[in-house]
């Protein structure tokens, strides 16, 4: 395969050199961090140093860092674990925005099996949680979960309103911030959130590691049973080498986020200006005015996104449709549907997302093929 133009960093970005080095060095350590002997202590030391580094990068206390296998596990712990912890108080509901990733949305929906309720927080046409829904976060809500940055459209959510609603009602506030860390200024303490999910492979660490930040006063119930290695919330041997890679990647991403934002904004501007200059008609950027500079979600009238993706793939460009089922069938974007789009529009969107390695040449390569590919895809009846 020739060199690819990789514009799908929101799905998984490049593993940073620092994370790679940290991982390899960590793998050289033999031993289980829970063991009491010298080898175990060495592994535990790497783990705790990684935790401290991660906490420092994210504005958290080290005791607030629960290491996980990734974003989905963190979201499960926060939503299900939070609901289980508080239902005895008469809080039988979770409140989630209607544009959450399935890691939150499906977890919330699954609580119905155990007698839970889901309170939907509706969004406006941009996909932003509406101003008039916050009073739905009431005294019967255990956890309210609203993502920091939407994974499909890049839309920023009003987290200050989430925190305010939770303070008023006593619910715990949770945000899936996997698309925010390394792009925006994510500071756990300053955010006022009770729970925040981080995923490694979105910020330069390998797939298979992440963290849930849990404010010290918040006592989640475990979701899986076992040795309770992570604050009795999460069981399983903690992979010290992966934790080290996560910490290294996170430190680098946080240090570089202002520069990444600046560059990503330039790339976004270049892409939108180039498309406007191409003469292509019938396209728009989805997600509204307050969006992550690293995500550009474009809708193309009269196009099925999976056709366009295939044409771009053949031209050497990697990008993404909203989601596909387990068999690989592309689905209409649930995010755009929730924002009021019709099904054809929800099937017409592609996501291009930028990472630290993305260059202006990558955007130019996309611009060379995108208008023609859209015209070809429009020939499909």
């Amino acid at each position: 395969m020739s060199a690819r133009v990789y514009l799908d960093h929101a799905a998984g970005t490049v593993v940073s050199p620092a994370a790679r080095t940290a991982l390899v060095e960590g793998l050289a350590l033999t031993g289980n961090p829970s063991s009491l002997h010298a080898s175990g202590r060495a592994a535990r030391r790497l783990l705790e140093e990684s935790r401290e580094s991660l906490a420092a990068s994210l504005g958290a206390h080290p005791g607030e860092v629960v290491l996980t296998s990734g974003g989905t596990e963190g979201d499960n712990l926060a939503v299900r674990g939070g609901w289980r912890a508080r239902r005895a108080e008469g809080r039988d509901a979770v409140a989630v925005s209607t544009v959450e990733h399935l890691a939150v949305a499906a977890t919330a929906a699954a609580l119905a099996e155990d007698g839970g309720r889901v309170v939907g927080l509706g969004v406006d046409a941009d996909g932003r949680v509406r101003e008039d829904v916050w009073d739905r976060v009431d005294e019967r809500v255990a956890v309210a979960s609203v993502m920091w940055v939407n994974n499909e459209t890049g839309t920023l959510q009003p987290l200050d309103r989430l925190v305010e609603a939770c303070r008023r009602s006593g619910a715990w506030s949770h945000s899936d911030a996997v698309q925010a860390v390394g792009v925006l200024d994510v500071d756990f303490a300053a955010s006022g959130l009770d729970l925040l999910t981080v995923s490694g492979h979105k910020l330069g660490a390998p797939v298979g590691v992440g963290a849930l930040l849990v404010r010290r006063e918040v006592r989640l119930h475990p979701v899986g049973s076992g040795g309770g290695q992570e604050r009795d919330i999460r069981s399983g041997t903690v992979p010290a080498a992966l934790a080290a890679a996560l910490a290294a990647a996170c430190a680098e991403a946080v240090a570089g986020r202002a520069e990444h934002r600046r560059r990503a904004s330039e790339l976004t501007g270049r892409l939108l200006a180039g498309l406007a200059a191409s003469g292509l008609e019938g396209w728009r950027r989805n997600g509204g005015g307050e969006v992550s500079p690293a995500v550009v979600n474009l809708g193309f009238e009269g196009v099925r996104a999976d056709d366009l993706l295939m044409l771009l793939d053949a031209a050497g460009i990697d990008c993404s449709t909203g989601s596909a089922c387990s068999a690989g069938v592309v689905q209409p974007s649930a995010v755009l549907l929730a924002a009021g789009a019709d099904e054809a529009t929800a099937r017409s969107a592609l996501r291009f997302s930028f990472g630290p390695t993305t260059t202006a040449e990558d955007v130019d390569a996309l611009l060379r093929v995108l208008p023609g590919a859209v015209r070809t895809a429009r020939r499909v009846a």
Partner: protein, 371 residues
């Protein structure tokens, strides 16, 4: 050439795609998601719409090093194949859904989408041959007579055939399996699929009952005597012997067969094997792989999948195809296709609408009406 290889997840389509790659074409694999509720795992040899099949197709594409996508055609499939299948049974006919799928999905919806996206051909693992002829490409039977699938391709027209590729038509099936193994394709030992892919458990009668409900009626003999009852005419096919559940044996003690199905009266007529014999039939919606015959045509016809080739004459009259068999055929079910062959070459096809006994007998005086 840019080739779209339809990959079902089975061994045939995987080897077909491999051969297109080896021939130097730029091949892209697509798996067609046809079922709205894909079964997670196949049971036995049934089902072509399962998640496991999509996985197997994807893994074959990996081995071949070609791009792979899943195309969702479930809506078209439900409307054009499944609903049609149910409606045909409801009308007392016996449809062939694979043929309808080739006509409406694989060589229509998929082909059109592929052509629009810049592909030149659709390749499948069907056992049939495309050979150059004086008037363009010709569709012929496969070399492997046991596997020949030209019957279910008989509905294709010249434009569709010109945009198709059937790379397996010259190869016996065992050789295709051996080739799959030699190429490292993991599906080399996967069982063949035989059944209707959208009826995963193989219970066609149960599927039809769930869609059509219970419509009780009488089972009668040729002079109208009621012999028993049934829960719906859609449970029967002309020529069927088993499952009639008649309490009374025939006076002569011989087995009885379904002769006729009349959904309007909700009757199923049964009788002896001889009464099943058909010498003439009429087909509707005739279609041709090339030029339509101008005068009376003489060749062989096939009346069901894996049926034998029967010598026959045919002519077009008022848009209907009239077929006279030289020897009587048994159990010819309306709704099936009559496919016309000139030697190994497919000439065209029509959907069987009505049949005639063709000798003296009760049904000769009153031909089965076109429904």
């Amino acid at each position: 050439m840019k080739v779209l290889a339809a990959m079902s997840g089975g061994v045939d389509s995987a080897v077909a795609a491999a051969r297109m790659v080896e021939a130097g074409h730029e091949v892209t694999g697509v798996h067609l998601a046809l079922s709205r509720n894909p079964q997670s795992f196949r049971t036995g040899a049934r089902g072509c719409c399962s998640r496991e099949d999509a996985h197997d197709a994807r893994r074959a594409a990996d081995v071949l090093g070609i791009p792979f996508y899943v195309w969702d055609l479930s809506e078209r499939f439900a409307a054009d194949v499944v609903d049609d299948f149910v409606a045909e049974y409801a009308a007392g006919r016996t449809p062939n859904p694979c043929l309808r799928c080739n006509e409406k999905i694989k060589f229509s919806a998929v082909l059109e989408r592929g052509l629009a996206l810049g592909f030149d051909r659709v390749a499948t693992g069907h056992y049939a041959r495309l050979l150059p002829g004086p008037d363009g490409v010709e569709l012929h039977r496969a070399v492997d007579g046991d596997k020949d699938q030209s019957y279910v391709l008989g509905v294709l027209g010249p434009e569709q055939l010109a945009r198709s590729a059937f790379p397996l038509g010259d190869t016996p099936k065992p050789q295709v399996r051996a080739e799959a193994a030699a190429r490292g394709l993991l599906v080399a030992d996967k069982p063949d699929s035989h059944d209707i892919c959208f009826i995963a458990d193989g219970d066609t009668a149960g599927f039809l009952s769930s869609r059509l409900g219970s419509q009780p009626g009488a089972v009668v003999d040729t002079d109208g005597t009621v012999l028993g009852s049934h829960e719906g005419t859609h449970g029967f096919t002309v020529g069927q012997r088993r499952g009639l559940r008649l309490g009374v044996p025939a006076p002569d003690g011989r087995p009885r067969f379904v002769l006729d199905i009349s959904p309007a009266e909700r009757t199923v007529t049964v009788g002896p094997r001889e009464a099943l014999e058909v010498r003439e039939l009429e087909g509707i919606r005739p279609g041709w792989t090339g030029q339509a015959p101008v005068a009376e045509w003489h060749g062989t016809v096939q009346l069901r999948a894996h049926g034998e080739a029967l010598p026959a004459r045919a002519e077009l009259r008022d848009g209907r195809l009239l077929v006279r068999l030289e020897r009587p055929a048994s159990g010819v079910a309306p709704g099936q296709a009559v496919v016309l062959y000139d030697g190994t070459r497919v000439v065209g096809s029509a959907t069987i609408d009505s049949t005639r006994h063709g000798t003296t007998g009760a049904r000769d005086a009153q031909p089965v009406a076109a429904r």
